[in-house]
């Protein structure tokens, strides 16, 4: 089994996760992967193929990195709900402290077994820090 790119941290009512990345791009990518890994799992027979792919372009601006991180996750959750898509691949083209440009790739929700509804990512106890080996983030998700 593939190693999951995140760990759960204890929270009484909601779900806390800790993610790491060698770079900021990898951190954002892993956080998004974690969110959709919690939400759904692929039906056994389903493989994401070019024909069933749905791509969404995401552009976000924010005052700082933490806001950008929360906006990124909440934009994905919102788009997933409105477009009825589960995302499973992310290509982050541009990322600095204030701007993000990415493409999220996924397919129709009906191809997945949905486990958990995540309403949103929150600022409560949000942590994004640079470590000697890269980046680490902790975020609490409202479920």
């Amino acid at each position: 089994m593939k190693v999951k790119p995140y760990k759960f941290i204890e929270h009484t009512a909601d779900l806390g996760i800790r993610v790491k990345g060698k770079s900021l791009k990898e951190l954002f990518n892993n956080a998004a992967l974690a969110v959709f890994d919690i939400i759904a799992e692929k039906a056994a027979s389903f493989k994401l193929q070019a024909s069933s792919c749905r791509k969404v372009i995401i552009k976000q601006k924010a005052d700082n990195l933490e806001e950008l991180f929360i906006n990124w996750l909440n934009e994905l959750l919102s788009l997933s709900a409105t477009k009825e898509v589960i995302f499973e691949d992310f290509k982050i083209d541009k990322l600095d402290e204030h701007n993000l440009e990415a493409i999220a790739v996924g397919s129709d929700m009906e191809n997945y077994k949905v486990n958990t509804e995540i309403k949103a990512a929150t600022y409560h106890e949000l942590k994004i820090v640079k470590t000697p080996v890269g980046w680490l983030a902790e975020v609490i998700l409202d479920v």
Partner: protein
């Protein structure tokens, strides 16, 4: 077990505890927690009390940052928190004090059935309810609405559903705010929020939302039971749901904008999820207008869910819902901010009351109550976990005096979802529940484990505290027979 909260806590009496204003520089009022010693032990095990202290930072907060006995760690506000602010004194409104699931709430309806009459039909009912009522993430309802109608729902709330034939005028009388809070502003709701709410009317949702068939197993106040038409062994139904994706998006949109208000209005709060703006500012007014839209959407949603439930009973028994006596007792919101009048130091003030996991509990004679409940006080519906009990209480004058007319909202979690998933076996749990006569159907096995009785405080203990503290009074207790989970 997580670290024990080490802050300062003073005992006021057996059911009230105070976090003094001096605990943290920046607290404008003390924190007051309704709990007994036993519940307090669990409460100290997470960060809920720190959150009670943090809420006391909100500009314009009046009297105290309050917490009910089902309090647990949330984000920003604790779940089970009540905070009233004075708009005339720079009082703020915070989307975090309402939550993502705006007007998450619960309604209770009665039936004419006695347990013995339908005990062999519970399984059928659960299966038909599960198949006919859309539940789970992304579920879509059969009740389809156009974009124009969606706007109408946001203003008319449950009244929209009644006009469509999904209920009666009497249902509206038995709903908080008569099913439609005034002042909803559809223009304050983003296109994305509309889109996220589309097709979700009449859907239960997931997580802790549920529909339960219950039986009354204990009466506490005979006069109130008579007034509500309730008796021992009677079958009742409880529906717990909210504003679905529309509410999440409204909260997300306005948290985003209010983060910027912290600087703009020079507001100092220790947690950005407490982002807020003065109630009377343009941002505050816009949020209030949008929040009311989501609240009305939720009332319409629960009205539609009740309509579908009545239809299922008609299908199973071949009798009209009126003949089965499926009348609504009441519907309450437990995630909401309301502009209400309260006495503060003997003076009437118009306040913005945030109830984040707390229920309005107005006493007898309150002008907001319909005529039929003027004598009894407001019905307060407290859902418990799927293995133990739920309660019907009534609001009191004491609640109006002490807690801005508020009480608890449920059992309150004590174990995290991940801890529950690790320690509970779903098959063992389902067998245990079945041996107690409880049938459960859920969209996902994970939900059953995450929502297991062991993950919650004992609702009986929570209700003991609010009853003994006098902020609501027990009327009767129910136990579950059939449970539909999202």
């Amino acid at each position: 077990m997580s670290e024990l909260w080490q802050g300062s806590l003073e005992k006021i009496d057996d059911y009230r505890w105070r976090i003094p204003k001096s605990y943290k520089g920046g607290m404008r009022v003390p924190g007051i927690i309704y709990a007994d010693e036993k519940l307090l032990k669990d409460i100290r095990h997470d960060k809920a009390l720190e959150q009670v202290a943090n809420v006391a930072f909100l500009p314009g907060i009046v009297h105290a940052s309050l917490a009910m006995p089902d309090i647990h760690w949330g984000y920003g506000f604790s779940i089970g928190g009540v905070a009233a602010t004075d708009p005339e004194n720079s009082g703020v409104i915070s989307p975090g004090g309402v939550g993502f699931d705006i007007n998450c709430g619960v309604r209770m309806l009665k039936t004419n059935f006695q347990y013995d009459e339908i005990k062999n039909k519970i399984k059928d009912l659960v299966y038909v309810l599960f198949s006919d009522i859309p539940s789970g993430l992304g579920s879509k309802g059969d009740i389809r609405v156009s974009a124009k109608e969606e706007k109408e729902i946001l203003v008319k709330g449950a009244k929209w559903a009644v006009e469509k034939g999904y209920g009666t005028q009497e249902d509206l009388e038995c709903t908080e705010e008569y099913g439609a809070i005034q002042g909803a502003d559809p223009l304050a709701v983003s296109d994305r929020a509309y889109e996220r709410g589309k097709a979700q009317s009449g859907t239960l949702g997931s997580g802790n939302h549920f529909l339960e068939i219950q039986v009354i197993d204990q009466l506490y106040d005979r006069d109130s039971c008579d007034a509500f038409g309730l008796n021992l062994g009677q079958i009742t139904i409880m529906i717990h749901s909210g504003s679905r994706g529309l509410g999440y998006q409204v909260c997300d949109d306005y948290t985003k904008s209010m983060i910027h208000c912290l600087q703009k209005y020079n507001i100092n709060v220790p947690d950005r999820q407490l982002a807020c703006a003065p109630v009377n500012s343009q941002e505050g007014k816009a949020y209030l207008g949008a929040m009311k839209c989501a609240a009305n959407y939720a009332w319409a949603n629960r009205q539609c869910l009740m309509y579908l439930t009545r239809k299922v009973f008609e299908k199973v028994f071949g009798i009209s819902w009126q003949k089965m006596g499926m009348f609504l007792i009441y519907d309450v919101a437990h995630n909401i901010a309301k502009i209400e009048k309260h006495l503060v130091n003997g003076q009437e003030k118009t306040l913005c009351v945030h109830r984040k996991g707390a229920t309005r509990a107005f006493g007898a004679g309150h002008p907001a109550l319909p005529q039929r409940y003027k004598k009894t006080g407001q019905p307060v519906i407290i859902p418990g976990d799927m293995g133990r009990n739920s309660y019907l209480l009534v609001g009191t004058k004491k609640a109006e005096e002490e807690t801005f007319g508020s009480t608890c909202h449920g059992a309150g979690r004590v174990k995290s979802r991940t801890a529950a998933a690790k320690s509970i076996n779903v098959d063992v749990l389902l067998k245990e529940l079945e041996s107690k006569g409880i049938i459960v159907k859920a969209s996902g096995r994970n939900t059953i484990v995450e929502e297991a009785p062991q993950a919650y405080k004992d609702v009986n203990e929570v209700v003991d505290v609010v009853h003994n503290a006098g902020i609501s009074k027990r009327v009767c207790r129910m136990r579950p027979l059939g449970v539909i989970k999202g």
